[in-house]
Amino acid sequence: MYLLLFFIFGGLCAAGALNLLLQSHPINSALSLIVVMSSLAVLYLLLGAEFLAAAQVIVYSGAIMVLFTFVIMLLNAGKEERTHGSKAAYIVGVPGVAVLVCLLSFIFLSQKSHLSNARLGDYLVTTSDLSAVLFRDLLLPFEVTSVLILVAILGAVALARRGN
């Protein structure tokens, strides 16, 4: 059952990602990205990370992608023209992707014993487990990350205000 759901939503995720690249209209690409984000949320849920799944839907599918579609609608962006792409992408891109895939599969296969904690469906990370890790064990990295995000927000505000 869990495996079936994994294949359905994993397939949906991959199909969405492909569609994102192949569509020529930006709004269709944005919608495909929403499908990818939402099916990722289901995959998180299958791995027992319920809070992360909900946060994924609220933050990525809900907020960030609304901003994407908002901008596309506001600019009324038309269809993109088909080009053959840059040469650099062909020369570096394809081997780069191949290397990345090899590297990832090597890591996953060699670290199998450490990664086997993650299983489909049969256990649940509750919100309190997650908060214990975030606010007790990893408090310093968490706070440093939030300061980093604050700096980014301030930077964005400063850039937006430079006009006047």
Binding site: A54, V57, I58, S61, G62, V66, L67, T69, M73, T127
Partner: protein, 343 residues
């Protein structure tokens, strides 16, 4: 399994019927507020008016304007209605009553109920945004742009206003949140005993904006935008947006009841003697829940009949410069209070 499916069907049918009759309630009440009678021709007190409207909308010709982006134009009302109906699935209506292992008064009891509600609300925006964009009409597009901007802005205040309640409970499961408020009736409700009235005020304002209701109904402001995002929609597709709006109203009323007004618990607490009959013990909480949700719907309609529409800059200023800081202040004060109490 069969019992679960029956339960889902029953809840959906009741929700759709309540949607139909909320429309009638609104027309009647707004009529009385404006010193007229409202629908009074179909049946006694116009009681069959929703049925007549439903049949009319169902039989009308479904127009498809030529310039539209056809797949998205058709998809948009489906997204809007699906999201509006989906959110009822995590709402508990009464005390957990198991019959053959199936909880009668809740479709799905999930640990992250509150977050699922927020997530579904977030997805529901696409219905409106895509409707406006796919219609290929300037009024629709402006309505959709207003709706997306408004929903993003007020979702922040909405989410932050709920954190005070979650901090008090220590859980985002809706049943836990209600159980905490069940001890002393009125006095232990979050809005009074929990001192979350500021949070409730923020939630109420944000909820009006999230459901595109007056005084924040700028996405469909008739005087400026014809009908806003659903200008080009007719017949059943229009009805789907209409139903989505009222279903969202009911969900928001349910959530406000659960989070701030003690859900299905009675306001008198231990003053009333405990109910011995097991059938009544299951039904009476349901009665309190419905009464509370009804009061919210009444308030919604009353506000619509009373207040004029905001100006757009006022709406944005109110959301970002007043509600958001207030919500953050509420979180800080609630956390300090809880830390001080040492719980």
């Amino acid at each position: 399994m069969v019992l679960s499916i029956v339960k889902v069907l029953v809840v959906t049918v009741i929700l759709l019927m309540s949607v139909a009759y909320t429309v009638l309630l609104e027309r009647k009440l707004v009529g009385r507020i404006q010193n007229r009678w409202g629908p009074s021709r179909v049946g006694p007190f116009g009681i069959w008016q929703p049925m007549a409207d439903g049949i009319k909308l169902f039989l009308k010709e479904d127009l498809l304007p030529t310039g539209v982006n056809r797949p998205l134009y058709i998809l948009a009302p489906i997204i809007a209605l699906t999201c509006a109906l989906m959110s009822i699935s995590v709402v508990p209506f009464g005390v957990s009553t198991k019959v053959k292992g199936v909880d009668l008064f809740q479709i799905a009891d999930v640990n992250i109920g509150l977050m699922i509600l927020l997530g579904i609300t977030g997805i529901g925006v696409y219905g409106i945004a895509l409707a406006g964009w796919a219609s290929n009409n300037k009024y629709s597009l402006l309505g959709a742009l207003r709706a997306s901007a408004q929903l993003i802005s007020y979702e922040l205040a909405l989410g932050l206003s709920l954190i005070g309640v979650v901090l008090r409970t220590g859980s985002v499961r809706l049943r836990d949140i209600v159980d905490l408020q069940a001890t002393h009736g009125l006095l232990s409700w979050n809005v009074l005993g929990g001192f979350q009235f500021v949070a409730f005020f923020i939630y109420l304002m944000a909820a009006y904006a999230e459901t595109n209701r007056s005084p924040f109904d700028l996405p469909e402001a008739e005087s400026e935008l014809t009908a806003g995002y659903h200008t080009e929609y007719s017949a059943m597709k229009f009805a789907m947006f209409f139903m989505a709006e009222y279903a969202n109203m009911i969900t928001v009323g349910c959530v406000a009841t659960l989070l701030f007004f003690g859900g299905w618990t009675s306001p008198f607490g231990n003053l009333l003697p405990p109910i011995a009959n097991s059938f009544l013990a299951a039904i009476v909480p349901l009665f309190w829940f419905v009464i509370k949700v009804f009061c919210f719907l009444f308030l919604y309609i009353w506000v619509r009949g009373t207040l004029p529409r905001f100006r757009y800059d006022q709406l944005m200023g109110f959301g970002w410069k007043f509600l958001l800081p207030l919500a953050i202040a509420n979180i800080v004060v609630t956390s300090l209070w809880l830390a001080f109490k040492g719980s």
